[in-house]
């Protein structure tokens, strides 16, 4: 029992230091690399941006628009009792931008993109492709992890903005067609209580989530052991760990913003 606990703790510490080392490596190649003429390939970044950004748009759109719908109906149910149905608009907008937009988008992307990172790099690892890169004196972190990191770092905030907007569209549909709020009034109320800080709080979060997803996906992939089974395990782990860390980070960042009254 104690040995199992001990092993778990040792593994945990090993993993954390591994992830931190990967982050340091990525930042090293990101910052120092270009000066050595070893910048990440533009083509690779571009391809990853298409995959992580463009191709994630449909799922982000559908998840958030329905969330917006549900959110509007939920809050209408409560607000009707107080005769304040109009405020559905601002409630939907603020909770989407601050909280649900970034978090839901990140969770969807972790499931779609983070898992793909882990599966792809894991397959490369178990089929000796990573080893081949190393033997060719091509650093796998620079060649594989950096483009993915850059792509996700810029695409997740964009996806989050898309998520916020489509969530608000969902709210608008409920507000206008079911609660019969005047469309102009709805839009007005939406932006009346939505402050700029609500938006940047959410975007700040999404940058942090992007780092988490890219880092965990690449770490699990590059440290895959065993054959197809190992790839499966790495993929599952990347999703589970990203989910937990996203929620945890959300909690921490929200409380920082809350207590520092930002």
């Amino acid at each position: 029992m104690i040995t199992i606990l001990g092993k778990t703790i040792i593994n945990f510490i090993k993993n954390i230091s591994g992830v931190i080392k990967l982050l340091v490596d990525i930042l090293y190649w990101l910052i120092i690399g270009p000066f050595k003429g070893k910048a990440a390939q533009r083509q690779g970044i571009f391809n990853q941006m298409i995959f992580t950004g463009l191709r994630s748009m449909p799922i982000v759109f559908f998840v958030t628009i329905f969330t917006g719908v549900v959110l509007a109906m939920q809050s209408a149910y409560q607000l009707q009792k107080m005769g304040a149905v109009l405020y559905v608009a601002s409630l939907v907008a603020v909770s989407l931008c601050r909280e649900l937009g970034p978090v839901l988008t990140a969770l969807v992307v972790a499931g779609r993109v983070g898992s793909a990172f882990a599966a792809e790099l894991g397959t490369m690892k178990v089929s000796e492709q990573i080893e081949a890169l190393e033997t060719m004196a091509i650093n796998p972190v620079r060649f594989l992890a950096v483009p993915r990191f850059i792509a996700l770092f810029f695409m997740l905030p964009c996806l989050t903005i898309l998520g916020n907007l489509s969530g608000m569209v969902g709210g608008y549909l409920v507000g206008v067609y079911s609660l019969n709020i005047n469309p102009d009034l709805y839009i007005q109320t939406t932006f009346k209580y939505l402050e700029i800080k609500d938006i940047y709080t959410g975007i700040t979060k999404s940058f942090v989530f992007a780092v988490i997803i890219a880092l965990i996906g690449c770490f699990e992939g590059l440290n895959t052991k065993g054959g197809a089974e190992g790839v499966g395990r790495a993929t599952t782990r990347s999703v589970v760990i990203s989910f937990i860390l996203i929620i945890l980070a959300d909690c921490i960042i929200t409380s920082i913003f809350y207590f520092s009254k930002l």
Binding site: E120, M124, S127, E128, Q129, E131, A132, L133, E134, T135, M136, A137, I138, N139
Partner: protein, 270 residues
């Protein structure tokens, strides 16, 4: 003449190297020298540690004991850029090709060129064409590794290994999975590369025919130990029972295939 002189100095030198996996000694106190410009063949049974030896020489694995000198540098101690500098002069053909399956044949071969040289795209294109025709794969530039056969993949791996005109090429079973004709072509290619361009070749093979075709010297590995290092001519007349069993492919002998499974040998009537 030049060849003779330079042949006397070792380019790779293993000194008392041991490697453990999960507490098992997989490479057991191995020492040998590989000379400049020679074709050094490593042969041995499946699981005897040949690929592991190659991984040690390329610095992918680090030995627990001993040291491995490649071009005068202890490859097991250096890391980062210093290691990469040495590796740029390597080419390696992997046992299972290890092509990047997100890249086309052409991009796989040009990858080392694009990463390590500043050649113009037109020149890279010419080099790719040359290397691909050396291995008989012109016309497959735009195919992905999943769209070509295993033997073809292996030949692309070979083209990639020699793309940068390396000084040392490691071949992990270059002819396994190839038909005899293509196998013969590859053997000839290895021989020519080493003779004309003074490339040092380290070749792992089970194929006795290619051993006799290409080898300058042969090392026999068994259970992580070097049994003997000889020339191909001495190999035939060797009195060593391991070598005799191996080159004649006899099921019975000191290499006990059925070691722990007592009784299975009898089932097969051996």
């Amino acid at each position: 003449m030049i060849k003779k002189d330079s042949k006397d100095e070792p380019i790779i030198s293993l000194k008392n190297v041991s490697k453990y996996f999960h507490g098992n000694k997989i490479i057991d106190n191995v020492s040998f020298d590989i000379l400049h410009g020679e074709t050094f063949v490593i042969m041995g049974c499946s699981g005897s540690g040949k690929s592991t030896l190659l991984r040690l020489m390329t610095g992918i694995l680090k030995p627990e004991e001993g040291s491995i000198f490649v071009k005068g540098k202890d490859i097991s101690k250096i890391r980062g850029e210093e290691l990469d500098e040495v590796r740029k002069t390597f080419g390696m053909l992997f046992q299972y090709s290890a092509l990047l399956d997100s890249l086309t044949v052409e991009d796989n071969v040009s990858l080392p060129l694009k990463e390590h040289t500043r050649l113009a795209q037109e020149i890279i294109d010419i080099i790719i064409k040359m290397k691909l025709s050396l291995v008989g794969l012109r016309g497959y530039e735009k195919h992905y590794p999943s769209q070509i056969s295993g033997g073809m993949r292996k030949r692309v791996g070979l083209a990639r290994a020699i793309a940068l005109d390396p000084n040392i090429v490691f071949y992990d079973e270059p002819t396994s999975g190839l038909d005899p004709v293509v196998g013969g072509v590859i053997d000839k290619l290895i021989k020519e590369l080493s003779e004309k361009l003074l490339i040092t070749s380290v070749v792992i093979t089970h194929d006795m025919q290619s051993v006799f075709n290409i080898a300058d010297r042969v090392a026999m590995v068994h259970k992580g130990r070097i049994i003997d290092v000889t020339t191909p001519d001495e190999l035939r007349s060797s009195q060593n029972p391991y070598i005799q069993q191996f080159i004649n492919g006899r099921p019975l002998g000191p290499i006990d295939f059925f070691k722990e499974d007592i009784g299975i040998g009898e089932i097969f009537g051996l």
